[in-house]
Amino acid sequence: MDTFVQLTLNGLTLGSVYALIALGYSLVYGILKLLNFAHGDVFMVGSFIGFGVLQLLGGATDPVLPLWPLLIVITVSAMAGCAVLGVVIERFAYRPLRDAPRIAPLISALGVSFFLAYSMQVLFGAEQRDYDAFSLDNGKLFLSGFDIGNVRVPLLRIVIIVAAFLLMIVLWLLVTRTRTGKAMKATSYDREAAAMMGIDIDRVIVVAFVLGSALAGAAGVLFALRAPTFPAIGFLAGLKGFTAAVIGGIGSVPGAMAGGLILGFAEAYTQGYISTKWSDLLVFVILIGFMIFRPQGLFGRPDIKKV
């Protein structure tokens, strides 16, 4: 039982990070019908921005800010930095190819992905970067918390899960309640009809990149608070986010959230009950399985006909 609770907690932690990544994939895919392969690398850059800002603020062993402001500052800087990065990527790698055959932006996306991964490697080296969050407040983030049975739910996990869910709720409200959010939905359904309503398509696309990239930046920090990051991590993170988006139905915002959690649980239970060896392979199997047998995902409608 304890094992189950612990694995569920592990899955929830991972899954909320995956969900944040998946949302960015889905937002951009929904509107541009583009698989933004560079998205995982934006996540990576976010985790590095967080690392850099943390060092600027004195590092985990000797920070100049108290714990909570510190966490907020590094997360917000990563989100802001990634939002800018997302806009730049869209402007220079995708917009010029808006009307090109669909393979062109896909190749451009791969190019951006490699560019980000390798330039980070050249600039900062390939080695792992550890936030060393354990050193903050003498391990408070890891050691304090509440218990479920014999399982400790540490503060950091609560922070990650709550932050991820808050961000998802904010996104959900933005997309469903605001005019811009509704314009995004309209654009993703029928771009030309949206333009005929006076919706500025370029702006909607930029907003999608800003939101998606900011979430990826937050995910990067939340992930790296628990586990080291490195320039090549973007590929796997992107693959997981993409798989989560496909599970939920790519283009669907609630689907991305659910897909992320499902993938997190699948990974944790596989590692905990079956084998630690196969969990990354499992991601590919799930991805391929969905692509073949249920390409619209769990929550996607089998493409309602345009009316």
Partner: protein
């Protein structure tokens, strides 16, 4: 001839899709409050004309003027702000969004404060839409969808309403109802450019008409004159 500046004027419009020359030297005038219909066979360039007017596509040469102001290089959003709206071909509703949200998209450029008033106006015109406001647009019947499309266009309070084949895919009774509404809206002072393949019905309510054939305006005139026109009859019978 009317001396006032026309609401809309196209002068020497040439529109291309890539290398394909679609609209060839189009000239067109619509005055305030007028109901004009644009006739033509399949692929003759009717929709392209509307898209050119709205700025969805840009002409290679020629000018589009709104109230005497050259808007050829002005983006769609600005043209809509200055009083244009469209009911697109096949309606193009946002299927997974509610009726209310569809209408809201029509008022995308209106200040939030005016929204209430616009909703009231449209719901008054189409009481059924009020009942259906929370339903997904994609689940409505064809007639209801046509109402949503018109309501959506009216949400921006246009002075000129472009309608692309409003009768397409509708049952005959609904076509009739649809033209009644068009007339009603026009009577309220909204100028209209109605694209139709169904020449008889549209000309019977229109003030004037233009006839397009492979991108060229081949005929124009008062509606009643066109209804009598032998060439037009032939063209349509020949098809």
């Amino acid at each position: 001839m009317d001396e006032t500046t026309p609401l809309l004027q196209l002068e020497g419009i040439n529109t291309y899709y890539g290398q394909i020359h679609i609209l060839q030297d189009s000239n067109m005038v619509i005055r305030e409050g007028e109901l004009v219909c644009l006739l033509g066979g399949n692929a003759s360039g009717k929709s392209t004309t509307l898209k050119t007017i709205l700025g969805i596509v840009r002409p290679r040469t020629g000018t589009v003027s709104l109230n005497g102001e050259d808007v050829t290089r002005v983006p769609t959003a600005h043209r809509i702000k200055r009083g244009m709206a469209i009911v697109p071909e096949n309606r193009r509703l946002f299927g997974p969004m509610t009726v209310r949200e569809n209408l809201e998209m029509g008022a995308y450029l209106r200040p939030k404060a005016d929204l209430r008033e616009e909703f009231d106006r449209v719901y008054e015109l189409f009481p059924l839409l009020y009942e259906r406001r929370s339903q997904l647009a994609g689940t409505l019947s064809g007639g209801e969808q046509q109402m949503v499309a018109m309501g959506r266009a009216l949400m921006s309070k246009p002075k000129l309403l472009l309608m692309d084949e409003p009768s397409m895919g509708l049952a005959p009774v609904l076509v009739e109802r649809s033209f009644e509404i068009i007339k009603q809206v026009n009577d309220a002072g909204v100028a209209m450019l109605v694209v139709e393949q169904n020449a008889n019905v549209s000309l019977s309510i229109a003030d004037r008409g233009y006839v397009l054939s492979t991108g060229r305006i081949v005929l124009e005139g008062r509606a009643e004159d066109l209804l009598e026109n032998e060439d037009l009859r032939k063209a349509y019978l020949g098809r």
